[in-house]
């Protein structure tokens, strides 16, 4: 696949380099314009395709670049300075926009709104600041001859796309981005700072778009406020939707083809052409969301997953690192590698909770929970529905912040530490509904988990098959296998504190008991601590060293299974009898 892609790229570059020799001046000019728009489309792909962040006002960034060139010529500012300022402005704007957008749980609507607002605002500014920008008439930009412009544009496009491919798409950053855009929850739980990765991609998208705008200015010869316009923003969405997201060639070819079509049709039919594009867009989004590239990919790949991690992802995170796990007796090692301070009360615990409280509105879900969990121990958390078990797990993992209380993980205060940093401290988590990156193959999922792992962990024998399973996307697996994969991902992350939310839910009796025995073995072998929420008492009996009963937000009993069964408070909580 990659060899074929390389050959296709080389052929395409050769054809592009030879193009001016066989084409008329008009055709070369059209192709140059197409290349500018192609780079713009590629820029949008970094945001909408790679980072999964839709922008409907991407012309805002394009216009920054175009106006930088025009203004530098009009007001005799060095071009390089203007370009640097434009790039900084586009990147800065993109960062502000994406940070605000990602701060909300579902970034789609805020991002649409903000990008729309920013591009309208810039267009308004360009229209009204007449002394600077010459208003609606725009600024003229001097052009050189067609062929020189063509080669300059081509060279810039090749350099920018090459750089982005190397730095953003094919790198480990690209692997992180792939996961963060598809399943932020699992990506964070694999140690990836999803907000940072996605914001960086969006900022890069803004910068690439600005470069495209800067290339566009001398090609068009005129820069008017419409370069910020929503017409252009919409066109670029259509080009990308047709070409196909997350495909470099698709984005570039989609833009070149549609731009050429528009230029060839001439002004009389322009209106109808755009109307046709609108209809095409609605159709594409509904019927072929992957665009042409998606169709080709489906055709080439057969049943294999259409999304893969770049090869750089398989360079493991902790190669040559110290042994994966500390034994139960070994003191925890702090991040700097030096031994942690001698144990004090509660300091040698893998997890230590003191007075954890959490309310949702008026409902007090957790009301002062104290809990210590030592390495190598497995504690099962039981309790009636609504007791606060899942909330407690989410607080330990970092998805929720407690209202009060302290939380220490391996002796370090972790109250304000975000999810992905807790993962690097050694926390691994399985969700109640299995959360894996469904578009990637099982092997890629494991690679992802290993990428950010603090140390290299060998998987137990019964999970080894997943490491090489590249045949189909993980989303095609049945529920039980997806759960198995999620557990394998957690284990591949070399965790020292494992949090499991009903690991046996939806499994048959035999499978569930086997899973319990496997988990038990893992704690023994690796010395990791385990905190498990479980309803099934048979599994609890198989799995737990200690059982903790949560009721009404408080721990009402803590001890071995037999003590718990005999405890009157527990019987009262479960059965309502003394």
């Amino acid at each position: 696949m990659s060899r074929r892609a390389a050959a296709a790229t080389a052929l395409l570059l050769l054809a592009l380099a030879a193009a001016p020799f066989g084409l008329s001046a008009f055709a070369v000019a059209t192709l140059t314009l197409g290349l500018c728009y192609a780079l713009f489309t590629y820029g949008l792909d970094l945001a909408w395709g790679r980072a999964g962040l839709l922008s409907v006002g991407h012309a805002a960034f394009f216009g920054c670049g175009a106006y930088a060139v025009a203004l530098s010529e009009e007001h005799d500012v060095p071009l390089a300075l203007a370009l640097v300022v434009a790039l900084a402005a586009a990147t800065g704007l993109a960062l502000i926009v994406v940070r605000i957008g990602l701060a909300s749980g579902i970034p789609d609507a805020p991002l649409i709104l903000l990008t729309l607002g920013v591009s309208l605002l810039l267009q308004k500014a360009a229209t009204t600041l007449t002394p600077l920008t010459n208003g609606t008439n725009g600024l003229t930009v001097s052009t050189s001859d067609v062929v020189t412009t063509y080669y300059r544009t081509l060279a810039a496009v090749v350099v920018v796309v090459g750089l982005c491919t190397w730095l953003i798409v094919r790198s480990r950053f690209g692997a992180r981005l792939t996961a963060a855009a598809r399943n932020p929850e699992r990506a964070a739980q694999s140690g990836i700072d999803t907000v940072r990765v996605r914001s960086a991609a969006f900022a890069a998208s803004g910068a690439v778009s600005a470069v495209a705008g800067a290339l566009y200015a001398p090609v068009a010869g005129l820069v008017s406020p419409s370069v910020f316009g929503l017409g252009l923003s919409t066109s670029v969405l259509v080009w990308l939707a047709l070409g196909g997201r997350e495909s470099t060639l698709g984005a570039l070819l989609g833009a070149v083809a549609l731009t050429t079509g528009q230029q060839l049709l001439g002004t009389a039919w322009q209106g109808w052409y755009v109307l046709g594009l609108a209809a095409l867009f609605v159709l594409l989004v509904q019927v072929v969301p992957g665009g042409l590239a998606g169709l080709v990919r489906t055709w080439l790949s057969g049943g294999a997953p259409k999304v893969t991690l770049p090869p750089s992802a398989s360079r493991g995170g902790g190669s040559g690192a110290p042994p994966a796990f500390q034994g139960a007796e070994a003191p925890p090692v702090s991040r700097g590698g030096r031994p942690a301070t001698p144990p004090e009360a509660g300091r040698d615990a893998a997890l230590s909770l003191r007075g954890i409280a959490k309310s949702f509105g008026p409902v007090r879900v957790l009301d002062g929970v104290d809990l210590d969990l030592r390495p190598g121990r497995c504690v099962c958390l039981i309790g009636p529905n609504g007791a606060g078990k899942s909330t407690l797990l989410a607080i330990v993992a970092g998805q929720l912040a407690p209202d009060a209380g302290t939380l220490r993980i391996f002796g370090r205060d972790a109250s304000g530490v975000p999810v992905h940093r807790r993962v690097r401290m050694g926390v691994g988590r399985m969700f109640q509904i299995p959360s894996v990156v469904t578009e990637l193959s099982p092997a890629d999922n494991i690679r992802l988990a290993r990428m950010e792992a603090p140390a290299r962990a060998e998987l137990p024998e019964e999970y080894r098959d997943l490491v090489t399973d590249d045949a189909a996307a993980a989303g095609a697996l049945p529920l039980a296998d997806r759960r198995r994969l999620e557990l394998a991902m957690v284990l591949a992350g070399a965790p020292r504190l494992v949090l499991l939310d009903e690991p046996a839910a939806g499994m048959g009796r035999q499978d569930a008991l086997r899973l319990a025995r496997e988990l038990r073995q893992i704690t023994v072998r690796t010395g990791c601590a385990m905190l498990v929420v479980e309803h099934d008492m048979e599994i609890v009996r198989e799995l737990a060293d200690d059982v903790v009963v949560l009721h009404g937000g408080r721990i009402i009993a803590h001890g071995a299974m037999d003590e718990i069964v005999a405890d009157t408070a527990v019987r009262e909580a479960y059965l309502g009898v003394g």
Partner: protein, 291 residues
């Protein structure tokens, strides 16, 4: 007084649009990106059908839009799309088609339509254009009516139930699909009404929808999903901000400041420490049991 009337007029426009988009969002979980373009369509009906009286033109616009809206919902938004984003993009495409269609039919030059009630009325000593007052009052009456229906009738309760939890509502015997169609048609009609009603006050051109989309979106951003009352309140705040800035400053500066204030507020609201501060202040104001 002048300012208050201007706010009333602006609120009528933004309120209708925001309420419409909030209804659609509640029932379909989709931000209707074509809302501004629907208003544009309504305005063009009012501009072109000059043979009948203005009031009839508004009703005509409303009557004409029902079937197309129903068709859009049935044909384009009904498909089980993979994610909400795809549906949102479909509405973007619909808006794009409407815009381009208007440009082909009417060219991109702005048109105006004469106000049906000319002259000014004297209000507490301030002269004010009569039609601005009338349109504002009609819009506010419609908004109040819709809210009343939403919060005081069985149909409104059903709609809010579907908005809150479609699966549960379906289990309780509501047909969520019918509710979605109805909500889309009503939300779209509110936009068409806004466009037609305010056409004498606006420059009618194919891209007028964009200008309306942004304040409407801001209002939606500050409202709670499914809570129509908060959407209307947010629209009022946005209208007041826009009008006040415009009375003090020049147009461009006012617009720029408007965006900056709104985006700044959104940014501040999203910062976790500000959110924490807010929740603290709430806790201090209503002291509960503290551990």
């Amino acid at each position: 007084m002048d300012v208050l009337l201007a706010i009333l007029s602006q609120f009528g426009l933004y309120g209708l649009l925001t309420l419409g988009v909030a209804i659609i969002f509640a029932a379909l979980r989709v931000v209707n990106l074509a809302q501004g373009d629907l208003a544009m369509t309504g305005a063009y009906v009012a501009v072109t059908a000059t043979t009948v009286a203005f009031g009839w033109r508004v009703l005509l616009a409303l009557a004409l839009c029902v079937l197309p809206l129903l068709a859009i919902e049935r044909v384009l938004l009904r498909r089980p799309l993979a994610d909400g984003l795809a549906t949102m993009l479909v509405t973007w495409g619909v808006g794009m088609a409407l815009r381009q269609g208007a440009e082909l039919l009417f060219t991109s030059t702005s048109r105006t339509v004469a106000a049906p009630a000319g002259g000014t009325v004297e209000l507490l000593g301030t002269p004010y254009p009569a039609y601005r007052l009338v349109s504002g009052l009609v819009a506010v009456a419609v908004i109040a009516g819709v809210l009343l229906v939403a919060y005081r009738t069985g149909w409104g309760l059903t709609m809010r139930a579907v908005a809150d939890n479609p699966t549960m509502a379906a289990l309780l015997g509501t047909d969520p699909r019918r509710m979605r169609s109805a909500a889309f048609v009503i939300g779209g009609m509110l936009a068409v009404l806004a466009g037609a009603l305010y056409s004498p006050l606006l420059a009618v051109n194919p891209t007028m929808g964009f200008g309306l989309l942004v304040p409407m979106f801001f209002a939606l951003l500050f409202s709670r999903p499914g809570a129509l009352g908060t959407a209307v309140t947010a629209a009022l705040l946005v209208a007041a901000l826009a009008v006040l800035l415009r009375t003090w400053l020049t147009d461009t500066l006012a617009d720029a400041l408007f965006y900056i204030v709104i985006i700044g507020t959104a940014a501040l609201r999203s910062r976790s420490h500000v959110r924490r501060l807010l929740s603290w202040s709430r806790r201090i104001l209503s002291p509960a049991r503290s551990s």
